[in-house]
């Protein structure tokens, strides 16, 4: 009986392992180009900008959205996990991640964000190419000490300040909330999408 159960479980696991997701199957059958969802883009941005260390392992889309928002990175209509990324959304969040939003003269015009990126030589035809010039924020806004306050899987080390708190300890509970530093402008190297996911 135990062996039978084990074999059934193993087969189920293998099936799960090898079967493509519903969306992938749909895409394969319809031959349409796989679109990148905003949830996938947010996950990539969190990793590229060095924000992943402030979140739990395998964060939810909402956790990725929240930390991007506090770093002032969001599409014009806000984050939507199920929505496909448009060129305008992509251009906006890349410019925001570069901390160059102030140089957009008409921020309500989606084309202005695209034109700006094209103007500085950043291609936005793929997410991989567009995110290539990004690198970790020097001191990002990261309310890591106060997110996931309760969940025992994700809660942080105690917020209690130590008797002799030093630089790191001083910064950990409270100051990383403010430790925001704009990203300096970076030359663009529009070569192959090394590390591109999409």
């Amino acid at each position: 009986m135990k062996k039978t159960c084990g074999v059934v479980l193993l087969m189920a696991f293998c099936a799960l392992w090898l079967t493509p997701t519903g969306r992938a199957a749909d895409v394969a059958s319809s031959n349409e180009t796989a679109a990148v969802s905003q949830a996938e883009l947010a996950k990539l941005l969190v990793e590229v900008l060095g924000l992943a260390r402030f979140l739990p392992a395998d964060p939810t889309p909402a956790q990725n959205f929240a930390i991007l928002m506090v770093n002032n990175i969001a599409p014009q209509d806000g984050w939507d996990a199920g929505r496909a990324v448009t060129r305008a959304d992509l251009a906006r969040v890349i410019v925001q991640a570069l901390k160059k939003s102030g140089e957009i003269k008409t921020p309500d015009d989606p084309q202005a964000w695209i034109d700006y990126l094209v103007g500085i030589g950043v291609p936005i035809d793929t997410v991989g190419l567009a995110t290539k010039p990004l690198e970790p924020l020097v001191l990002p806004v990261a309310p890591k000490a106060y997110t996931a306050l309760v969940d025992p899987l994700h809660k942080e080390i105690k917020q209690v300040m130590g008797p002799i708190t030093q630089f790191g300890a001083d910064m950990t509970p409270i100051r990383e909330l403010f430790a925001f530093k704009p990203l300096p402008p970076q030359p663009v190297t529009p070569t192959g999408p090394q590390g591109a996911r999409f």
Partner: protein, 394 residues
Amino acid sequence: MKLIKWAGCFLAIFSLTSGVSLGLGSKNDLMINNALRLEYDDNIYQANTNKTASFKVVDQVEFLFNLNLEKTYLGVRYRPSFTWWENREAARTDTFQHEGDVVFNQVLTPRLSLSLSDNVRRGLQPELLDRNNGRIQENQDFFANTLNGTLGIVLSQKTRMDVDGRYYFLQYDNEAMTNNNYRVATGGVTLRHQLSGRTTVSGEARYENVTYDGVDRNSQSVYLGAGVEQTISARLLGSLSGGLQAKSFSAAELASQNSPYGNISLTYLPTALMRLTMGAGYSLYETDIFPYANQERLTGYASLAYDLSARLALYLSGAVTQGKYKQKFVVQSGASTVQDFDGTDTILQASARASYRLNRSNWLGAGYGYTTMSSDLRPDFVRNQYDVDWTIRF
């Protein structure tokens, strides 16, 4: 220990002298930052009376490495810091500290993903000691590590299951601190279903085992709960979760306790230049105040960021944590005399900060931090810290 200190010294000097010559430019997987801070602290020992004030000089180097491949992400950070006090009564007036973390994400198949993260701290955040021990932890001689792992399983296009594990331990070098050493092992399952692009609901089950060295304050908790994550509007994002927590103790004299737990957080962008975050949480929690084995902890926070210009930004934030300790959760500690009673421990933190981007690689900052503790169980204190800092990216 000496080896670690010398390694920290070497890395600090190396980064300061060799950063530019490394040719670190626009497309680097390795990044090095250095932050120098001058600080005035009016209460370095967090004392109630007879406060000791001191200037501090702090230098912190940060090494960041990012590897982002098609199915793999690896992020590594190492952050040693050196502190020198102008007025410190302890034998040493300088210390080294270390913090490092690793994040590893791997897509195994279209349906399976693995995420691992580890954070290690050496001497960074010593805990306050219990009220029966007047000493303070002066040597920062502790070691703490948090290991998290998640196996993500896509069940359908809109439903996924996460199987999580977490192991945390805090270990003091000093044997006299044995009662403050503890380990927390946690396992859990989360089932998430995306109702729409803006709404995700979840159900969760957790098991947590807390083990203390020394006197038996060990406990086991089971959590059952549900949650929702909602993009309320283009500028407002919220999450809410809660459930029931059942906690039992190894010590025979302690009765088990059931309690609700909950967590709420909001992220709001009122304007294009302003970000606002706030939240609160309540649960039963482990305790660092011996001889208590349990606390009921309520925490709230809020922070506001405002960009005054493309170069200048202001940040305000505050957080309050209140722990309720009850006499019925005091363990018998043998011959020691303990003053066991109900009490509340409240910690308030507030901070203001300005950051100015000088040029492409340099930032200047100024900040003020306020911390106060009001407690029935240990001495109250108030602490003010003023600082200016300079950060450079190599």
